[in-house]
């Protein structure tokens, strides 16, 4: 059995960490948090130069031709550094949608730009507040153009390309849309985590091209979300790991009643529970990574398990990181809130816990394993 990342993958991880230590310090994250800039374009360029965006894209399509395990390693480091870049929108969502649904010609046209990072992609799905369901999607595809409004589009202000789910008489389909079209209006949204950008996109007779079969849009979207769930779960455990480390360090440095607060069992046990949740989530993420990299039949179960587990671990670690820091944890100056914000953003990024738990149990229901 070899259920660990390889030496080369660990080397890649270290290389990404070093780059992020230099170019994605907490001051850089705060720069995006506190300004109107939708993302850190300098960091994005650094990642482009390293070829990180193309990690899991075939070299014939402009990528590096490595695999999903390498991409998981990258995701964990981006999550750890709270990287304020449109990586998940462009790579985990748009690229995966194209891999799942596009034909060869479409891939050749769209993937190289995303692989180099020259173009930024995203997924536009939600139209109303609340869970995404087939009947919440009203956007119309008629006579070769899209009309309607998508809310909560991640990195909607900076994306060049969007994968859009919309309906025509045959049901739901996925479409690739050039967002530089003059019929697109963008409106920035304020969210709990301003270090990431979200916006509302209004489409007024915007041209697009269908991806995959007509009427197959919901099925394709679920496949995309499963793949993205594994990758985002790695971002989540990266963030959770850092939050746990911050809390552990602080518990050793901070004295009260003449002793380090980390010597009190009330604090120790809180940190031990964070560690346990994180280890379980990490192991589930590895399972997800294995399923994604081998395209296993178990991917829907593995993805939902990694997703639920990593969401809980990051929320658990980020909230108790604040608790460990006491009053200082509630200052703007300390970084605790950056992790708290990001953990709660990622918790709903691909749909909330109850939706993913329901997907998970549906997989258990259909499996014979009882």
């Amino acid at each position: 059995m070899n259920f660990e990342f390889s030496e080369d993958q660990v080397l890649l991880k270290n290389q990404i960490r070093r780059a992020l230590d230099d170019h994605c310090r907490s001051a850089d994250v705060r720069q995006i948090l506190e300004s109107d800039s939708p993302h850190d374009s300098q960091l994005w360029r650094v990642l482009c130069e390293m070829g990180v965006q193309g990690t899991a894209i075939d070299d014939s399509l402009g990528g590096a031709g490595a695999g999903y395990l390498e991409l998981c390693v990258v995701a964990e480091e981006l999550g750890r550094a709270l990287a304020p870049v449109p990586f998940s929108s462009s790579i985990f969502l748009a690229v995966e949608a194209l891999k799942v649904a596009a034909n060869n010609e479409q891939k050749l046209a769209l993937l190289p730009g995303l692989a180099s990072g020259e173009k930024i992609g995203t997924l536009a799905a939600w139209e109303i507040n609340g869970p995404l369901q087939p009947d919440t999607i009203a956007m119309r595809w008629e006579e070769g153009v899209l009309n309607g409004r998508k809310i909560l589009v991640p990195d909607g202000d900076v994306a060049d390309v969007a994968i859009v789910i919309a309906r025509d008489d045959e049901g739901l389909s996925l479409f690739a849309v050039d967002l530089t079209d003059s019929g697109v209006t963008r409106e920035t949204l304020e969210t709990i985590d301003p270090s990431r950008n979200f916006s509302t996109l209004t489409f007024n007779a915007v041209a697009g091209q269908r991806l995959g079969d007509a009427g197959d849009g919901w099925n394709l979207l679920e496949q995309v979300l499963n793949r993205a769930a594994v990758l985002v779960a790695f971002e989540q455990i990266g963030g959770a790991q850092r939050a746990l480390e911050m809390a552990t360090d602080y518990a050793q440095e901070r004295y009260a009643f003449g002793r380090p607060i980390g010597s009190f069992q009330a604090v120790k046990h809180m940190l031990a529970d964070m560690y346990v949740d994180l280890e379980l989530a990490r192991s589930n993420c590895y399972y997800g990574a294995w399923a994604l990299s081998t395209d296993a039949d178990e991917l829907p179960l593995a993805a939902a398990t990694a997703r639920v587990s990593a969401t809980q671990a990051f929320q658990h670690c980020s909230k108790n990181n604040i608790q460990t820091h006491g009053g200082m944890g509630f200052t703007w100056e300390f970084d605790c809130h950056l992790f708290y914000r990001r953990s709660n953003l990622l918790a709903v990024l691909l749909g909330g816990q109850s939706v993913w738990k329901d997907r998970l149990v549906s997989q258990l229901e259909s499996s014979d394993a009882a």
């Binding site: 070899n2 390889s6 980390g262 031990a272 379980l280 989530a281 590895y286 399972y287 587990s309 998970l360």
Partner: protein, 413 residues
């Protein structure tokens, strides 16, 4: 990243599988499949006899105490081969319960501290299952604070004379030998005045009384020592060095107990897939689904954590105190799950008759057994301390008895 055996591991697995297939007591399988949560009922077959017979068969074929050196009755197999053996042994592993403490805890300690002659005398018989061993550690006044033990050993010529009481000794009534930790010097700090011995459980003055547990069963014992004599030659380690000898044993205890915890999740899934509630199948209920997802995540997390540990073994590394999480997670999960399982059965949840209760009353057994899981071999609280101190590196708690002579430590009641 893969779950595949190396060619060498695959070859080992295949030979194990063939041997088990040819030799295992298949007539016991129907009983063993139902064994769970520390209960094993072999019907008309005698559990001890069957356990010893299977053990002997394994020993004769070279499959017992795999990781021990050959001269002491083992085969010098690698840790990963031991894991493969356990995986392949499957339900028959339940027959090994009688020997777990001997193989996992007493044996390694004897190997580290006994004389060569003693090792040759005792270890092969332990490995063969001809002699059963227990560990005599916990006392009524010292559980988590093991070093606070009071059982007294006093030197008398070439012997030591033992007086005191041990408790929670698994299998003492089936055991031939025991490993005993005692206090030899109450005038020094508590960790410094301890000494380890082994003795025959048939020694005059040893009295074993089964404890009737909260769940009505009796797997543990109290052991009383009244002027029991142990030759000095049966001392393990130096006088006053018993604490560090005991650590050898305890690290092995947590590894062997935490290694393959049942969680009860497969049983839970089977229950909610079959149980009708007022609104239809239990698994269709939103509240049930929410909890089921959480439990699945924890079960799956444990499973793949264990895969990560096996990978470390496979690379020749030793898993650290991270192994503590298995029992910590599984114990309270079993307890929570059994309460929900009974609740779903509504008033019939109180039934303990396997003929009448859902799933042969396994959840009722789990409900009544799981409190012990959260205490035995390190309480949840001690395990959290271990994780906090040894994994996360947090400082130890401040001890009120630090540096005090043992005899000056306040005891309460």
């Amino acid at each position: 990243m893969n779950f595949d055996d190396t060619p060498q591991e695959a070859e080992f697995r295949s030979s194990v599988r063939h041997w088990i297939d040819d030799n295992a007591p298949k007539y016991l399988l129907p009983y063993l499949e139902k064994a769970s949560f520390a209960t094993m009922d072999l019907g008309d077959y005698n559990a001890n006899d069957e356990s010893k017979a299977w053990r002997k068969k394994k020993f004769d074929a070279g499959w017992a105490c795999l990781s021990w050196p050959q001269e002491y009755g083992g085969v010098g197999a690698s840790p990963i081969e031991r894991v493969i053996w356990q995986q392949e042994e499957g339900h028959y592993a339940a027959l090994g319960g009688l020997f777990t403490i001997g193989e996992g805890m007493c044996g390694p300690t004897v190997m580290s501290y006994a004389s060569e002659g003693q090792k040759k005398r005792y270890l092969p018989k332990l490995a063969a299952g001809e002699e059963v061993w227990c560990q005599l550690f916990s006392e009524p006044g010292s559980g988590s604070d093991l070093a606070g033990l009071r059982t007294k050993a006093e030197r008398d010529g070439d012997d030591w004379v033992i007086n005191g009481q041990k408790i929670w000794t698994s299998g003492a009534h089936h055991s031939d030998y025991g490993m005993l930790i005692t206090r030899t010097d109450p005038s020094v700090a508590k960790h410094q005045g301890l000494t380890m011995f082994f003795l025959s459980m048939k020694s005059p003055g040893v009295e074993i009384r089964p404890i009737k547990q909260a769940n009505g069963q009796s797997g543990f014992n109290e052991v009383y020592f009244t002027d029991v004599r142990i030759p000095d030659a049966q001392r393990l380690g130096e006088v006053g060095n018993g604490w560090s000898v005991s650590l050898t044993t305890l690290m092995n205890e947590r590894l062997s107990i935490g290694g393959s915890m049942p969680t009860g999740f497969p049983e839970m899934l089977a229950l909610v897939k079959s149980l009708q509630t007022g609104e239809g199948l239990a698994i269709k209920d939103k509240a049930v689904r929410d909890k089921l997802a959480d439990w699945h995540c924890r079960t799956s997390g444990l499973k793949y954590t264990s895969s990560r540990m096996i990978s470390a073994l496979s690379r020749g590394e030793t898993p650290g105190p991270e192994a503590s999480i298995g029992k910590l997670v599984a114990g309270s999960m079993m307890q929570d799950m059994s309460m929900v399982a009974l609740d779903l059965q509504d008033l019939s949840g109180i039934l303990v008759d396997p003929e009448l209760a859902e799933l042969s009353a396994r959840f009722q057994a789990m409900l009544l057994r799981s409190p012990a899981t959260r205490v035995e071999g390190g309480t949840d609280e001690i395990l959290r301390n271990i994780i906090a101190e040894r994994v996360l590196g947090l400082p130890g708690d401040i001890r009120a008895d630090k540096g005090m002579a043992f005899s000056d430590i306040p005891t309460g009641r």
